[in-house]
């Protein structure tokens, strides 16, 4: 995926043009299958604000149609119109040549349109079968025929390639597996059109591969799929065509093999500078964090804390160091342990901060050592949604802002405005609710919050999850700037191209151990193979189409 790393604009001159003029527009050719779903002139307003403005969208039979756009571009709104969740809109929907207007999600479902939401609507405490047939359980006189239900459920699970019994509880499944259950549920509704809202957002790469396999299988069976995604590099792997939305309008529909730089430009609507900032020419600098054979003691491991086991790594001043590894390799656990938020107990090995032995046993202790953490899920553990931007920013700095227990606004205000400026947080005012900010700006608040004070070491877990392309580049640049000021940064990501583009060095974790230290600019396949992915499992582009992302693909072929 080297291509994902560099997104220079091909032709800066087109930046100001309406992007419908961009190349690779599909020709109206005869060989294409007919449209199963055709939306024209869809308009939707919330209050006085247009969420959708004259949107035309066409889905062909048996195609995978990717829908791209930044946060708030109107993707979800459009899909909610299709799925009958939004019932008041202007414009027309034509399904199989007949104009339809769904009054409810149930109506859309019975017409064969199923939507798989980001937050899967499964009940964790019930079995897979009970979830699959919820509200339409087989049986008579109100009694459920369990045998029948399980048999049908197992059949459906086979169809989506999930090796599990339908008697299993949903809560015992991983996110990726739950996704497959949701798809199975849609299939059982005889869905002809499947809308998937960011299905890969929470998946590890091996799970993504499996999901794409299922998507291709469904496509071969004639199911039409709308695929919403944030990850550009996925598009050529799974989709046939791409429609890009921006500010509630369709920017254009292009073939999925269009170059990524084009897609980025369509989304962002203007010139894309260097996506990853240049690395610093760092000379030899002091170690900030040093771990040696660091991990849980055997005793803790016996009581269920598996990872990390044996880590050796250093992070120096001014360096951004990446931690790669599959889901479950122990990346998040390591960061929480370093931040004093792990389980109490004995650790083995050495941890040093600035050359001194350190063992933070509480968050407070870690913060006093200058360690800051940004978690992977800002909604769950990053910010307090009810509080304003300013109040969130100073949440862990209150002690320095108060005297006799009283928070001094005279001290608080300058700190807030300084951080907002430093991290270029775009909010109408420090008193704006944090939930009114875009994902990228929320992430900057969380980042700023963790760094108020004097941090030496920043631990970042998935720093750009749920952040759109433009904001990603800005966050990378911020991180580089912080590193240039001497901060040491340790970052994990499940998007390996991101680590390759951003970091100075990358450590690969595998089952709780560091197995490799790789230089910057390393090939993605090298990272993956160290992490334990057999390359055959990896995602291959849809057969029968030209090479979409040249370099990485050829590298892969050479390997396998």
């Amino acid at each position: 995926m080297e291509v994902a790393g560099r997104m220079d604009v091909v032709n800066p001159g087109t930046a100001g043009l309406r992007p419908t003029t961009l190349g690779a527009a599909p020709k109206p050719d005869e060989g294409q299958p007919p449209a199963i779903l055709k939306l024209s002139g869809i308009e939707k307003r919330f209050g006085g604000i247009y969420a959708l403005r004259g949107v035309d969208f066409e889905l062909r039979r048996g195609e995978v149609h990717a829908l791209l756009g930044e946060n708030g571009a109107g993707k979800s709104t459009l899909m909610n119109v299709i799925a009958g969740v939004i019932t008041e809109y202007a414009g027309s929907i034509v399904l199989d040549g007949r104009e339809v207007r769904f009054g409810s999600p149930a109506a859309a479902q019975s017409a064969g349109i199923a939507m798989i939401f980001q937050e899967l609507d499964l009940v964790p405490g019930l079995s897979i079968a009970e979830n699959l047939f919820m509200g339409r359980e087989p049986g008579r006189l109100g009694f459920v025929n369990q045998t029948e239900m399980r048999a049908q459920g197992d059949l459906l699970l086979d169809q989506v390639g999930l090796r599990a019994s339908s008697r299993q509880l949903v809560e015992s499944l991983r996110i990726g597996e739950r996704q497959l259950v949701a798809i199975a549920k849609a299939l059982s509704l005889r869905a002809r059109i499947l809308v998937m809202d960011e299905p890969t957002a929470a998946l590890a790469s091996s799970e993504v591969a499996r999901l794409f396999g299922v998507v291709r299988e469904l496509r071969a069976q004639g199911v039409s799929i709308v695929f919403i995604s944030h990850r550009l590099e996925e598009v050529p792997l799974v989709a046939d065509r791409v429609t890009v939305l921006r500010d509630g309008e369709v920017v254009g529909t292009v073939d999925a093999s269009a170059p990524q730089s084009t897609l980025v430009q369509m989304q962002v609507g203007r010139l894309m500078a260097e996506f990853y900032p240049p690395r610093s020419q760092s000379t030899q600098r002091a170690d900030v964090l040093r771990l040696e054979r660091f991990g849980f003691s055997p005793r803790l491991r016996r009581s269920g804390y598996q990872r990390p086991i044996d880590l050796t790594l250093t992070v120096r001043e001014g360096e951004i160091v990446g931690l790669a590894g599959l889901l479950g390799a122990g990346r998040t656990e390591l960061l929480e342990l370093l931040y004093g938020a792990g389980p109490a107990g004995v650790w083995s090995g050495t941890m040093e901060i600035d050359g001194h032995f350190a063992r933070p046993r509480s968050v407070d202790a870690a913060r006093r050592l200058g360690i800051a953490l940004v978690t992977d899920d800002r909604r769950a553990s990053g910010y307090v949604p009810q509080l304003s931007v300013g109040r969130n920013l100073v949440l862990n700095y209150l002690r320095n802002l108060s005297r006799f227990g009283f928070v001094l606004r005279s001290r608080e205000r300058p700190v807030v405005s300084r951080v907002m400026q430093q991290f270029s947080i775009r909010a109408s005012s420090p008193d704006a609710p944090i939930t009114s900010l875009s994902g990228g700006n929320q992430q900057k608040v969380v980042l700023g919050k963790s760094l108020v004070g004097s941090a030496r070491l920043l631990l970042l877990d998935e720093p750009t999850r749920g952040v759109d392309v433009g904001a990603k580049a800005e966050i990378y640049r911020l991180l580089r700037g912080l590193a240039a000021d001497g901060l040491a940064v340790l970052v994990t990501s499940s998007e390996i191209p991101e680590l390759i583009g951003l970091c100075d060095r990358i450590y690969v974790l595998r089952e709780g151990r560091t197995v490799a230290e790789l230089p910057s600019g390393v090939d993605e396949d090298v990272v993956l193979s160290w992490a334990g992915v057999r390359l055959r499992e990896r995602v291959h582009p849809v057969p029968g189409r030209g090479p979409a992302t040249g370099s990485s693909q050829s590298g892969e072929e050479a390997r396998s």
């Binding site: 910010y383 307090v384 009283f406 270029s424 109408s428 700006n441 800005e474």
Partner: protein, 387 residues
Amino acid sequence: MNQKVSTALDASPGSLRSAAPGSAGDARTSRLRWIQVLRLMVRFQSILGLVIVFVAAVIVSPRVNGQLIFLEPRNLGNIIQDISEYGILAVGMTFVIISGGIDLSVGRALGLATVVIGRLMMVSGWDAIPAVLGTLAVGLIFGMVQGAVLVRFKLQAFIVTLAGMWIAYGLALSLLPNGQFIGITFGNGPNHAPTIFQHLADRFMGVVPVAALIFLGVGLLGLIILNFTRFGRQVYAIGGNERAARLSGIPVARVRIIVFGIAGLMAALAGIVDAGQFNFGNPAEGFGYELWAIACVVIGGTSLFGGRGSMVGTLAGVLMLGCINNILLLCNIDNNVHTIVTGLIVVVAAALQTVVGGFSSSVEADQPTRPAGLEPAQPGQEVPKSV
């Protein structure tokens, strides 16, 4: 109420998307103004409600010799005296609910406190001030133990305080000498309570009831703590997102224990006020008061989910219920009507929040955003607003 009511929406209706056609932009602007006004009203709904109720009460108030009974100083004093016990409980409850919990035990803890103070004075022969302090300590410890139990065993506040409710009642019953209620009589010598305790039923300057002063005093104190101290901020943060608060280095367990301690302390204080007015140590006192306290907090606009709310709202909610109670009494309306009216007010107050809150947030959620800029804003450069 020190948080300014301002949202990203009201910041820049015009500049946000200058590309929008003029007419649509205007419509949107006026719509946004409306949302702003509605939000403001909901935020201060209890004060607004208090004003409306007050004005209505003045209008319908019966007159004697051309004088409005409702507005007579003595009557206004009555209003606050009547609700002072609920009010004191509601102050503690506001802390608990904002921190994301609930305390069902405060009513029974109030009853326990009346027994404790009665016993300390009448049986053990303590002087007034040690007895008051001892009773307050009992309430504080009772609350903190509940807090410690729910923190230690990761239990829900509902369960722990439900158990606490029974335990407080049982304790109060077992503290009764010979199973008799403790009648508090004043005077010197054994088996008499110190006369100074009688002043709790008095009126300051002959107008303002002492109980009302106590209520307003702790209300003010609570308001200051909640709004201006680090502890107050921590209470909001824990109620809003406990995990984020913990990862920010906030001592979550300690704050939770203190919060429940405050609720217990307030229950004990309300019990002392109760004993001072009715001169009884009676375990049955305060039965069901916890629900009144919760109702006052909810009317005050505090979210039962935690993280959102205000002490000002609670105080206004308490006074509003007091006014309604009083005017219905003055107008000789059946007491049962009052109960029904209270129920209706709670529902309306809660519904107002979801209706207006949900309406405006749906606008925000789906608002198209301008693509985030790639260049970090330079100081002095105009920063594009993005929602």
